[in-house]
Amino acid sequence: MLDKRMTMEDVVGQLSDGMTIGIGGWGPRRKPMALIRAILRSDLKDLTVVAYGGADVGMLCAAGKVKKLVFAFVSLDTIPLEPWFRKAREAGAIEVLELDEGMFQWGLKAAAFGLPFLPTRVGLGTDLAELGGLKTVQSPYADGETLVAMPALKLDAALIHVNRSDWRGNVHLFGADSYYDEWFAKAAAKTYVSCEELVDRIEDHYPDDAQLNLFERCFVSGVVHMPCGAHPSSMPPAYGWDMKAFKAYADAAREPGDWAAVADRFVGTTEQAYLESIGGKEAVAALPLPIF
């Protein structure tokens, strides 16, 4: 059976300019930040990014990697407005497709099932459909209801940070909420997961945890072992978000707010260097889980 283990650089090597890339997680939670940092260290460009956005989106926008963004929000929770995303938007630097949070996951589901669209009421009565160029369809049944046709959000690749995996791509996702990670995985032609813990045969280590296998290994193309790989976002139950790091990142967006001058602090020349700069694995493990 295929050994799906690879390095972050291998993952980036399988991506190319102009691709549509989905990023799992939600705002400042469960983001595959190590993989995002690997993209930030690369020459990749002109990406269409599809995400419930947090600092992943902010950093990619700041670094000029994003041609188009598909989003419903971009936020760091207690820092409600993501400052680097905001700068990119107010400069008119990126194209956007703005969606409702529920339509967004509906679009991932359409892609997962190979459908051109899925119908929904959501979007009617707002500016979303007109601004986003979304079309309507009419129910062919007696009700004749007019509905928005939410187009499939087909992804060339999805990046997801999971709690555990084995080398075959059997993943375990746990913590309070896995958001829409399983639908990113199913909407993508290829899904690359980074994981906190890598084991050889997951059934030998965690035989009682099979219900945590939220998407099956046929949806996993690559596995990167990357403890602390969600930092500075949260990865319950292993660690909370790093609000100090988010504040420093947000402060750096203030005038002149030149990403090139500050990127090294938030990306690092290597993942190892980045991890050392934030105090290592012990510091990450000590980050308290956020209270809502």
Binding site: W26, S75, E90, E101, G125, L128, Y179, I291, F292
Partner: protein
């Protein structure tokens, strides 16, 4: 209640009490309050007149005992159920089993709301805000109410909001053939008054004024014409409600919601 207690009631507490009325007799639905005042209001409703309400701990678990706001131990909640974001649309929003109270950036005479951007265009907004989040779905599927800590014409705009992020009662925005039967805007509570959508063709109407506030003052702070309801005085919370509010907000976060934390009765 003694007069001494009356003078100590803050405007924020009056607003929490007023907002909690929005959740009365809603049945078994998810009560979501976003921000300290709406969240305390939903919790107060559950602990007083409407124990059948359902709510989460703000993360992923349903709780029958509302969790206090602000810093607390991570495990200081007793989960009675599970409602993560990963099934929020399936279970709460798209099934209509929810009432949310939120604070958008703008609201217009049709009840259309905006939290996406101000000024400029879709491609180059002057001021980028959060994005529409779940508002388009919330407003077409379930009940919604609003709280604003500062009632001004910048929030209650003349004309229409800059980016319509939530469905209102604007006939011009309604694509023919769409089903708008679940659009249900309920209550607006501000630092000045309580309003509803009970006017002509769902026009916004002032139903009660906070102690010492006049209708003219409210109209002056609003960018569109308001209708007049009965114009009673918004009631103050009693001792029991105040005690519950204090227990749900042990760090007194509510004191920071309205500028200068004024008393409910103007001095």
């Amino acid at each position: 209640m003694t007069d001494v207690t009356m003078t100590e009631v803050t405007l924020a507490e009056l607003c929490i009490f007023a907002c909690s009325e929005a959740f009365r007799a809603n049945g078994e639905i998810i009560a979501t309050g976003v921000g300290p005042v709406p969240r305390l209001a939903a919790s107060l409703a559950k602990l007083t007149h409407s124990p059948e309400l359902m709510m989460t701990d703000g993360e992923a678990y349903l709780v029958e005992q509302p969790v206090p706001i602000g810093p607390r131990g991570y495990d200081e909640r007793k989960a009675s159920g599970y409602l993560p974001f990963s099934r929020f649309f399936d279970s709460a929003v798209w099934t209509g089993r929810r009432h949310a109270m939120v604070t958008p950036t703008q609201l217009d005479r049709f009840g259309q709301i905006n939290l996406s951007y101000l000024g400029g265009t879709y491609d180059k907004p002057k001021t980028q805000m959060l994005g529409v989040r779940g508002f388009p779905g919330n407003t077409i599927y379930h009940a919604n109410s609003f709280f604003f800590p500062m009632h001004t014409a910048r929030t209650f705009v003349s004309g229409e909001v800059d980016m319509v992020s939530g469905v209102g009662y604007n006939p011009a925005k309604r694509v023919p053939g769409g089903n708008y039967s679940d659009v249900d805007l309920r209550m607006i509570v501000t630092n000045l008054c309580v309003m509803d959508f009970g006017g002509t063709d769902n026009a916004i109407r002032v139903v009660s004024l906070h102690p010492g506030v006049t209708f003219e003052e409210v109209q002056e702070a609003t960018g569109f014409r308001l209708e007049k309801g009965e114009l009673t005085e918004t009631p103050l919370p009693g001792a029991q409600a105040l005690e519950i509010i204090a227990s749900l907000d042990p760090h007194n976060i509510r004191a920071s919601v309205i500028k200068d934390n004024p008393p409910a009765r103007r001095g």
